[in-house]
């Protein structure tokens, strides 16, 4: 039964976590092997899922054998399979990275608990990508959020206040979402996404559905840190330990964008969004503002980690804009960008982590002579920066290409301009770093060549190669995503 892959993709990290939690204290030595086995199997499962949907296009999995809408189902189409692949790919990189990074940040006695939460978080992300039940999404939000709170709070003294705010904002977002689900439920009596999509058109013109739409989207916006609900994100992420960040920063917000696509595109349908509600102008304004604001903040910051956070703010704007443009190409661009951006963000965060650990700081002034001192990191950094800027044939270029094209076709020129400004700012910004490590001389207190440990180098190299490969294989992904798009796209 090939649909078993759908469960295994989320089940393997889940069981890994439980096993870690059960034996972690008794046998801390085995922890990293359990984790490595788990993550390898999970990557295999996601590849299996991917190959299954490549042939079958669609996989359903019924928990407990109960058919929806009675039971809870996993529904995997090609886009969600891509998301699963993304989560496991990034998680694998982040895991290898954390093997070396975590001991720098956390006493060994906390590691078993840390990794248990880590794997629960991974399985939560995967499950969010594949679940077909709107209430299940809420529960999974909480699984991810709670484990995320704990992992983020490990940044030490300075992390507590921002994490507390995140607890409030995250719960608020989830609550909004839940009320929205309540309104949907009260008008339809079902929680299954596919069933909802069938029933909803009969009540499209109800005010409660409008309310539900507003609440769900606002809830998701809070969760994904879209402007103006982004306030919690940069602070909490900057103070978090790098090993948490490698997992949270690339996936935490992106997966919410995917849930948004799923809810807006498949449950409410694109038609409802564009024709009946006509919320497109508002949403596009928000997306454009997110990009502009993120970009503005980026310019004012000097520390790499902080800069990455605001890049995320503006990238979220890209994706949300792409979804709400409602053009076929723009949605493909948005989906492709979710995966591409996850890969870019994880690389950036890892680079920031290496720089922080090896050079003692991540401000521009600290990266002097990086080409000499950390060659692998420097090259990975250049590659990922090119992708963020949008230089072909990097993935960032293609998604931007599609998004701008979509903006032109539907007449949102402001969005296109914002995208371009963001790219230009990225050029300016990253070249400030390049200049830093190309031209600046260090005072010779530091050793001339610092070798990155293997646990840093491997994921960096893999991520850089992955980025290039993902960009070069764009035509494959274009066709792959296209077949799973929601109906009603222009």
């Amino acid at each position: 039964m090939s649909s078993q892959w759908a469960f295994l993709a989320m089940g393997i990290p889940f069981f890994t976590a439980l096993i870690m939690g059960s034996v972690g204290y008794a046998a801390p030595r085995f922890m990293r092997w359990i984790g490595a086995t788990g993550i390898t199997l999970a990557v295999f499962a996601s590849i299996g899922l991917w190959s299954t949907v490549s042939t079958d296009e669609y996989v359903s999995y019924f928990f407990g054998g109960w058919l929806p809408p009675i039971g809870i189902a996993l529904e995997v189409d090609r886009i969600s399979a891509l998301m699963v692949l993304m989560v496991h790919g990034v998680a694998a990189l982040a895991y290898i990275f954390s093997l070396k990074a975590l001991p720098n940040e956390l006493p060994a006695s906390k590691h078993p608990v840390y990794y248990t939460l880590y794997f629960l978080l991974i399985s939560g992300f995967v499950a969010l990508a594949v679940t077909g039940d709107v209430f299940n999404v809420y529960v999974l939000f909480e699984v991810c959020a709670l484990s995320g709170y704990a992992l983020l709070a490990m940044g030490g003294k300075k992390a507590y206040v921002p994490t507390f705010n995140y607890v409030l904002m995250g719960s608020l977002g989830a609550c909004f979402y839940l009320i929205g689900v309540g309104y949907l439920f009260i008008k339809t009596g079902t929680l299954n996404m596919a069933h909802l999509a069938d029933v909803l058109p009969t009540v499209f013109f109800s005010r409660s559905i409008l309310t539900a739409f507003i609440l769900i989207t606002v809830g998701l916006f809070v969760k994904m840190a879209l402007f103006p609900f982004h306030g919690w994100m940069p602070n909490v992420y900057t103070k978090a330990p790098v090993s948490t960040l490698c997992l949270m920063a690339p996936l935490g917000t992106k997966i919410c964008v995917y849930v948004l696509l799923r809810v807006v595109g498949y449950v409410f349908s694109m038609e409802y969004m564009t024709n009946i509600l006509a919320v497109q102008p508002i949403m596009m304004t928000l997306a454009t503002l997110a990009i502009v604001v993120g970009t503005l903040y980026v310019v004012y910051h000097r520390h790499l980690t902080r800069i990455i956070m605001f890049i995320i703010v503006s990238e979220i704007g890209y994706m949300v804009g792409g979804i709400f443009l409602g053009q076929m190409d723009s949605v493909i661009g948005a989906v492709y960008h979710i995966a591409a951006d996850a890969l870019m963000t994880v690389t950036l965060v890892m680079v920031a982590g290496v720089v922080r650990h090896c050079l003692g700081g991540d401000a521009i002034a600290d990266v002097a002579m990086m080409f000499r001192r950390l060659p692998t990191t420097a090259i990975a950094f250049v590659i990922v920066c090119l992708s963020v800027i949008g230089v072909p044939p990097m993935p960032g270029f293609f998604s931007k290409f599609l998004l701008i094209k979509g903006a032109f076709m539907s007449g949102y020129y402001g969005f296109a301009v914002a995208l371009l400004i963001a790219s230009l700012t990225a050029v300016f910004l990253f070249f400030r770093f390049f200049e830093g490590y190309f031209y600046m001389k260090t005072d010779n207190t530091a050793p001339s060549v610092i070798q990155e440990p293997w646990a840093y180098r491997i994921p960096l190299v893999v991520a850089a190669i992955g980025l290039v490969g993902f960009g070069l294989s764009f035509s494959y992904w274009y066709g792959f995503i296209k077949l799973a798009l929601p109906l009603g796209l222009a």
């Binding site: 529960v139 959020a145 709070a153 507390f164 607890v167 719960s171 309540g182």
Partner: protein
């Protein structure tokens, strides 16, 4: 009754939201969150209630026919069971963080904490 139960739910949610946004005290914020969540639960329970129906536990083990009108809606209830448990988990985490914050800054007051936070940095 229709508007009343929904309105009370909405009042509770709004009250919770108000506390979360405007109160300066961290503990009060968490209380706001708790009230917000109970508001949601009330909202769901209200929608599952049925006039003249009994609790969703079958008597005489289903012999003699089961009619859905006779029993309150079990689905909304289990959803809310989940919500309650999630709520208490969140509350616990929030309290743990609040406790840590108090240990470091000596106050639950947001303004004091922020003032404290800035000083050592600059």
């Amino acid at each position: 009754m229709t508007t009343l139960s929904y309105s009370v739910a909405i009042i509770l949610m709004t009250m919770g939201l108000w506390a979360m946004l405007s109160k300066k005290n961290l503990i009060k914020k968490l209380m706001g969150l708790a009230i917000f969540q109970t508001g949601i639960i009330l909202f769901f329970i209200s929608m599952g209630a049925k006039e003249g129906a009994t609790i969703p536990i079958l008597d005489h083990h289903g012999y003699g026919g089961i009619y859905s009108d006779d029993y309150a809606n079990p689905l909304t209830q289990i959803l809310m069971l989940t919500a309650i448990v999630v709520g208490v988990a969140t509350l616990g985490l929030g309290l743990a963080l609040a406790r840590k914050i108090y240990a470091h800054y000596g106050s639950f007051n947001e303004d004091d904490i922020l003032a404290n936070l800035r000083e050592p940095n600059e």
